[in-house]
């Protein structure tokens, strides 16, 4: 087996998780392991050779040769950006984790296992492991909600897991269809190979397989109308788990669509673009309105995360360099933003014991630092320029709008215009939430003795926000990795 730094990227959190389960001081080694992984992903970004491009740091290790399954790792610009997202959010998530009363070691192990699953999925270039790693991450998600969650945690844990398992099952059917579609002698599970076949037009699995992938991945991403699992799950999950799932693991579905659907199914994406546009407007407008109606901060954040997925789908539907580049950038930005918001939401809940808007209010006066950080994160969420969320969204809008022509609006332009209204909607619910929680008169649950955010949590969130600001001021830092991935597409 050829050694690859990518293997370390998977092994570090895996070994750390095992140590946590074995009873080592979990918090300290988790922060250490996650920090090492963050540095490693930065190192990979820095040493990726952009002049050559394509998949690098490749290692292949055939396991079941009869089925063509091989434990192969490799990354291109797109997966590197997502790996950075994953390691950043993992690091922040273990950092902001408060004192856990029961089974502390298991808690950290579960967090790190989600990270292992996400890193593995983003770094795998073998279809089997790409799928298997994501499935692996669902188990700790189930445990985190079921054991450490709040509210009706067990019912929600089951619901989420069955829902996601069902989505994964549809996805599996799609992946099998994809595998079978290749000519016998070229059949492969190697994503690079599948992409090449796709570019060469040798692989045409047809619309049914595309729809299986779209809805399989779609359920995992909370595509309307398969979204109702998400807000409940995020509201019930402990904050670090919500950060990792909403911030990172949900990006797996979008990543899969970019990785598989875009190279192999360009014609089908076009063919079903109308369907996708209608569904994504369901995400943006309909779920947007549902978000406005929420009376609890955690549910509102959960719905807002569902809503934002609509923009990512708009980038996919655009199917051009602008839209897809914007989509990838937006995935990165959204992951950081929602992670920061869920972390802060957890901080609020620990201080006040409630997330009901009606019981909160005026917190900025007592916890100014918490208020300031939440303000920054909220502004990132509404797509304020300066944060990379804005850069991602604007590229998506330009990309989708470019699919029309001067003259009468076509479907794409109409959808873009409607999706733009989502920018107003997200400002409505975010500013309302900020107003209800941090401004105005003192809420009944907001007591004088509440402490401001601790230095540790503060720096974890500042790290996320700083990453958003740096990539927002210089989107080029990420775009130089992302552009080549989609450069073959027409404008």
């Amino acid at each position: 087996m050829t050694p690859s730094p990518l293997l370390s990227l998977i092994l570090i959190p895996l070994v750390t998780a095992l140590f946590c389960m074995a009873g080592a001081a979990p918090r300290r080694i988790s922060i250490f392991g996650a920090g090492a992984n963050l540095l490693l992903s930065l190192y990979l970004l820095a040493s990726y050779n952009q002049a050559i491009g394509g998949f690098q740091f490749v290692s292949e290790n055939p396991l079941f040769a009869a089925y063509g399954i091989s434990f192969s790792l490799g990354v291109d610009g797109l997966s590197l950006v997502l790996l950075l997202l994953c390691t950043l959010v993992t690091f922040a998530a273990v950092w902001v984790t408060p004192k856990i009363e029961k089974q502390e070691g298991m808690f950290y192990a579960c967090l790190l296992f989600i990270s292992v699953g996400a890193v593995g999925a983003f770094a795998s270039i073998d279809l089997f492991f790409f799928y298997a790693f994501h499935e692996l991450a669902l188990i700790p998600t189930f445990l985190l909600i079921g054991i450490w969650g709040s509210g009706e945690r067990q019912r929600i844990a089951w619901k989420v897991t069955i829902y996601l398992a069902f989505g994964s099952f549809i996805l599996l059917l799609g992946l099998i269809g994809l595998w079978l579609a290749a000519p016998d002698n070229l059949r492969s599970l190697d994503i690079r190979m599948l992409q090449q076949l796709g570019y060469a037009g040798l692989l045409s699995p047809g619309p049914a397989v595309y729809l299986l992938l779209l809805f399989g991945f779609g359920i995992l991403i909370a595509l309307f109308p398969f979204h109702t699992w998400a807000p409940e799950a995020y509201a019930s999950a402990p904050a670090p788990a919500a950060m990792l799932h909403a911030g990172v693991l949900k990006k797996f579905g979008l990543y899969g669509l970019l990785r598989l659907a875009v190279p192999i199914f360009p014609a089908e994406i076009q063919q079903f673009a109308h369907l996708l546009l209608v569904l994504l407007l369901g995400n943006i407008l309909y779920v947007g309105f549902v978000t406005i109606a929420q009376k609890r901060l955690n549910l509102m954040l959960g719905y807002s995360s569902v809503m934002h997925m609509g923009y990512a789908f708009l980038g996919l539907a655009a199917l051009n360099q602008l839209g897809l580049g914007g989509m990838a950038l937006m995935m990165f930005a959204h992951g950081l933003t929602i992670a920061a918001l869920f972390a802060l939401c957890g901080e609020i809940a620990r201080r006040t014991g409630t997330l009901e808007f009606s019981e909160l209010g005026g917190m900025a006066g007592i916890t100014p630092k918490l208020g300031l950080l939440f303000g920054f994160a909220a502004m990132a969420s509404v797509g304020l320029p300066g944060f990379s969320s804005f850069a991602g969204e604007i590229l998506i809008f330009f990309g989708a709008f470019a699919r029309g022509a001067t003259g009468c609006f076509n479907w794409f332009q109409t959808a873009t215009a409607l999706a733009l209204w989502g920018v107003v909607i997200s400002a409505v619910y975010m500013l309302r939430a900020y107003r209800r929680v941090f401004w105005g008169g003192r809420g009944t649950a907001v007591k004088d003795e509440i402490a401001d955010i601790s230095a540790g949590s503060r720096w974890a969130i500042i790290l996320l926000l700083a990453a958003l600001l740096v990539t927002g001021f210089r989107p080029g830092l990420l775009l130089e990795y992302l552009n080549p991935v989609f450069a073959y597409l027409p404008q």
Binding site: P225, L384, F390, I394, L431, R432, F438, G476
Partner: protein, 603 residues
């Protein structure tokens, strides 16, 4: 130092100051204030250097988004007459307001936050002024929005201030929605977002006049939001919840004028667009300037009177874009208005502080003797606002109205009769506040404000009087083409002014305790705010609750929970399909609905 760097230093100094205040001096009010003032003074000094060196151009750009061969948005700087004038106006007024704030905000607990937001504002505003392309302008456009949000919400514990900040941001977002869509349309038509390239490539779009009209009107939506034109004007009076220096700098002199500046920037595009575009602009402006005038006549809060007057004056500027053959007509009024309106607000602030935060004009009175400097400065600003001959406002405003006479007679009558309203509310304000007897305890014991506040007043009073004279104007603007209206037009304007002044004198000179004539329709702002409250609470709120209910009981409930109750009836169907769980059922149901919709709509 290379003068090429000056504009960049001007732009980024305030941002750096904001960062330093936020991260280093967040608990040191005095240091925060000093840093902000130093940054403003530096920006101001360099702006004058740039202004006085007309040969200076900046070619360097910072790439922001770059997708080779497909799309590029640079951060680039445009230096022409328009931006040079705006630079000196913005930085000079900002400097005075920054200094004045030191007096006004004394003792406030949030001074570092206040100054950090002011610096962020200055950065964003300068970004709008210097932007050489639509996307860059939009970026800074949003950033002034957020700094305005923070500053209006400065007294965030007050519910009214918290609501006003939120409302300002949201209303502006509605305008920005149109602005962005317009930018997308112009970009698709011309292949660029850079102003000069859009103008140059516009000829290719003339094939689709409807498209071009829509694009320009959507861009104009940005102005409607930012410059508080009807029907998106409601946020500006509420923004008076912010500290008075903020009202003066953002919500009177500079930020709200950004909408007009943007129109002036794209004036060639508007000229190339079908005529109906400028006609719509003219009428939005004219209706705004008249209706806001009506509302101003019956307000009791000194700042709200000035706020409605700002809306009205911005309406004049927008009319100027709609009727004149040069954007300089509107820019000239923006220029004079910036001085006299900033002055009026700072004077109002001086009064408010002297009266221990009393803002109701019916509790003032007789302040001329007690606060002579403030009173005289406010008189100068008021006369300029009303358009009294020999004061700055008369030159710029009459110019616009005369253009209307030449190009749109109906527009002339609307804008000219608004002069009557301007005179009424201006003189009402001056008479009630400064003449007669004090109507309250605080007014009785009012004292003149300290020098740090009165000095900026006196400095501002000078341009508020003289900024309109041709010898002064020539220093800032190129020679303007004359409207060429006959003397009759000017006489009509003066008649309206005189009539308004006389009426105000008859009503208010006797020192009444309350408005002798009360018109509920105007006092209640034509009930437009109530309409919006209803729209947000009932329509948006209703839709949201309905969607939420649907999501819970139909999409989630019926699909998952409700199905459990009917599952025994449909059990054999599920068994046939070999899937035992409810989520599968839900999935098939959902897929079925979507498939049916899809084939109904698209096939």
């Amino acid at each position: 130092m290379d003068p090429q760097l000056y504009p960049w230093i001007i732009l980024f100094t305030p941002l750096a100051a904001a960062g330093v205040i936020l991260f280093v001096f967040s608990r040191r009010p005095t240091a925060a204030g000093s840093i902000a003032v130093v940054a403003a003074v530096l920006a101001c000094f360099l702006s004058w250097r740039v202004f006085l060196d007309p040969s200076l151009t900046v070619t360097a750009q910072i790439p922001w988004i770059e997708i080779p061969g497909v799309f590029s948005v640079p951060i680039g700087i445009i230096l022409d007459n328009l931006s040079r004038v705006m630079l000196v106006v913005v930085t000079s007024i900002a400097t005075l307001v920054f200094i004045y704030s030191a007096g006004y905000m004394r003792g406030d607990e949030g001074i570092p936050r206040y100054y950090a937001a002011l610096c962020l504002f200055l950065f964003s505003m300068l970004g709008i002024v210097l932007a050489d392309n639509f996307v860059m302008m939009f970026i800074f456009w949003e950033l002034v929005g957020v700094s305005s949000y923070i500053l209006i919400g400065h007294y965030f514990r007050k519910n009214s201030a918290a609501d006003a900040g939120k409302q300002a941001f949201l209303v502006n977002r509605v305008g920005d929605f149109g602005f962005m869509l317009g930018i997308l349309m112009l970009w698709l038509a011309t292949g660029s977002v850079v102003f000069s390239a859009v103008e140059a490539n516009l000829s290719s779009v003339t094939l689709h006049p409807g498209y071009l009209t829509a694009a320009c009107l959507l861009v104009f939506c940005g102005t409607i939001g930012k410059s508080a034109q009807m029907p998106l004007h409601v946020w500006l009076p509420n923004s008076m919840e912010g500290p008075t220096p903020v009202s003066s700098l953002l919500h009177a002199a500079t930020m709200v004028a950004a909408g007009v500046y943007m129109l002036a920037r794209i004036f060639p595009v508007l000229l190339a667009a079908p005529e109906v575009v400028r006609e719509v602009i003219l009428w939005i402006g004219a209706v705004t300037c008249f209706a806001a005038g009506l509302m101003a006549t019956q307000q009791d809060d000194i700042k709200r009177i000035l706020a409605y007057s700002t809306i009205s004056q911005l309406g004049y500027m927008v009319v100027g874009i709609g009727v004149a053959s040069t954007a300089d007509a509107a820019m000239f009024h923006l220029f004079t208005h910036a001085f006299f309106k900033c002055l009026l607000f700072l004077c109002a602030g001086s009064v408010i502080i002297a009266l221990h935060h009393e803002q109701d004009i019916w509790k003032m009175g007789g302040l001329l003797r007690r606060m002579p400097v403030t009173a005289l400065c406010m008189l100068a600003g008021g006369l300029a606002l009303a358009g009294t001959p020999f004061f700055s406002g008369s030159f710029s405003k009459d110019n616009i109205i005369e253009w209307a006479w030449m190009n749109n007679r109906a527009g002339f009558w609307v804008t000219a009769s608004a002069v009557f309203l301007t005179a009424i509310y201006t003189f009402r304000l001056l008479f009630v506040v400064f003449l007669g007897r004090p109507r309250g305890e605080h007014a009785e014991h009012a004292k003149e404000s300290p020098l740090v506040m009165t000095l900026p007043l006196v400095i501002l009073a000078v341009p508020a009087v003289i900024a309109g004279y041709p010898w002064f104007r020539r220093f800032f603007f190129e020679e303007m083409p004359h409207a060429g209206a006959p003397a009759a037009a000017h006489t009509i304007i003066l008649a309206f002014l005189g009539a308004g002044a006389v009426l105000a004198a008859l009503l208010y000179l006797r020192g009444p305790a309350k408005d002798p004539v009360r018109i509920p329709l105007f006092a209640n702002r034509l009930y437009i705010d109530n309409f919006y409250d209803w729209l947000v609470a009932r329509v948006q709120g209703g839709l949201a609750v309905l969607s939420s209910w649907f999501d819970r009981w139909i999409i989630d409930g019926v699909f998952a929970t409700g199905a459990a109750r009917t599952v025994w009836a449909a059990g054999y169907v599920l068994r046939l399909l070999q899937v035992g769980n409810l989520q599968a059922y839900a999935f098939f149901f959902g897929a079925g609905v979507v498939a049916v919709l899809y084939f109904l709509v698209f096939r």
